[in-house]
């Protein structure tokens, strides 16, 4: 099974969707994306952590240090109201684009 990077420009949307379920730390987000995409997408920390930092600056997520499931300190990210709104907008835009591509391919 080939593992690919996420489609360009969609990483933030995937992170937002993952965090919409529950707050998570960085590794948890990467694992969840890999699991739900059935290993089609794998996010490496070099892409994930900078994306999380950008989103935090943009106010879409907020972070706090908490004890993880292993009882170690980890930085947990939570979706903000602004993040939920961004998720809706980006998901709509993506769906529109995907439908348009599908129509072109079927034509």
């Amino acid at each position: 099974m080939g593992e690919k990077d996420v489609v360009q420009g969609t990483l933030e949307m995937l992170i937002l969707k993952t965090l919409a379920l529950e707050p998570m730390h960085g590794y948890g987000i990467a694992t969840r994306i890999e699991q739900v995409s059935e290993s089609v997408f794998r996010v490496n920390p070099g892409s994930l952590l900078p994306a999380l930092a950008r989103m935090e600056r943009a106010g879409r997520v907020k972070s706090e240090w908490r004890a993880s499931e292993n009882n170690r300190r980890a930085k947990y990210y939570t979706l903000t109201v602004r993040g939920r709104k961004a998720l809706t907008e980006e998901a709509d835009s993506w769906n529109r684009q995907a439908s348009a591509i599908a129509r072109i391919l079927e034509a």
Binding site: P45, P50, G59, N70
Partner: protein, 258 residues
């Protein structure tokens, strides 16, 4: 609100670099450990899990650089670093730096002087009504005869001519005249034994009306003053007035002065 939050976070990153760096290291190490634990749970040995986690992470410096680039403060730091490097380079060649600085200073100084003059002479409006409608005919200054010295008569008009133009301005809205030479007259200062000398300009009675210039105190010279043969009227400019006079009596044998 995120602009403010970004600003606060950026300032925190600039001034608490070590704390921010420690947090980044902690997050990266936490990621690595979680990754190793997960891989070991899937059946890899400790060594294999560690290697796989490291390969996945890549260069920690590159990851940290990516995280830092998310904020505006990185650009500020880069700019500051470039500035310091530039200053250090300039200090290494003091001769060149001195010449460059002097050339810039000369150029900036000269341009400032020129544009200050342009602003005062060309761009700044005269403190009179409708300055764009004001035209001076003849550019003679210091022309005529004074104290027996003939300074030339170029661009001068006679008083008679000026009176005629004032009476019938023709296409002009109105006209007034002023003298080409500024003599000095004696002015008595209250509570002072000595009189002071002030430069004055002879003007016709309608001068201030044509200029549409209003006085701060009292009145300006009016046509009535021109008609009265043995009276003198003095109109003091603000700059001059601040020197000495509260109330000055001006004495000069009945000539009209402004």
């Amino acid at each position: 609100m995120s602009v403010l939050a970004s600003l606060v976070q950026g300032i925190r990153s600039l001034f608490k670099k070590h704390a921010v760096e420690r947090e980044m290291d902690e997050e990266l190490n936490g990621f690595m450990e979680a990754s190793m634990t997960d891989k070991m749970r899937r059946g890899l040995s400790a060594e294999q899990a560690t290697r796989a986690a490291r390969v996945e992470m890549g260069s920690t410096n590159a990851v940290k650089h990516g995280i830092r680039s998310a904020g505006w403060e990185t650009r500020v730091e880069i700019f500051w670093g470039d500035l310091r490097h530039g200053v250090r380079t300039l200090l290494r060649s003091p001769g060149f730096t001195l010449i460059a600085v002097l050339s810039l200073a000369l150029g900036i100084g000269a341009n400032t002087a020129i544009f200050t003059l342009v602003k005062q002479v060309v761009l700044q409006e005269l403190p009179v009504g409708h300055p764009e409608q004001l035209v001076s005919f003849g550019k003679s200054t210091g022309g005529g005869v004074l104290g027996g010295v003939d300074l030339g008569v170029g661009d001068l008009f006679t008083y008679d001519f000026a009176q005629k133009i004032e009476a019938k301005p023709g296409p002009l809205q109105s006209a007034a005249a002023y003298s080409s030479i500024s003599p000095k007259v004696n002015v008595r200062v209250p509570n002072s034994p000595a009189a002071i000398q002030v430069p004055v300009t002879l003007v016709s009675g309608g001068f201030f009306r044509v200029l549409e210039a209003a006085p701060l105190l009292g009145r300006t010279i009016v046509p009535f003053d021109e008609d009265a043969p043995h009276r003198s009227a003095l109109c003091r400019s603000g700059h001059r007035g601040q020197d000495h006079c509260g109330e000055c009596n001006f004495v000069h044998g009945g000539r009209r002065y402004a």
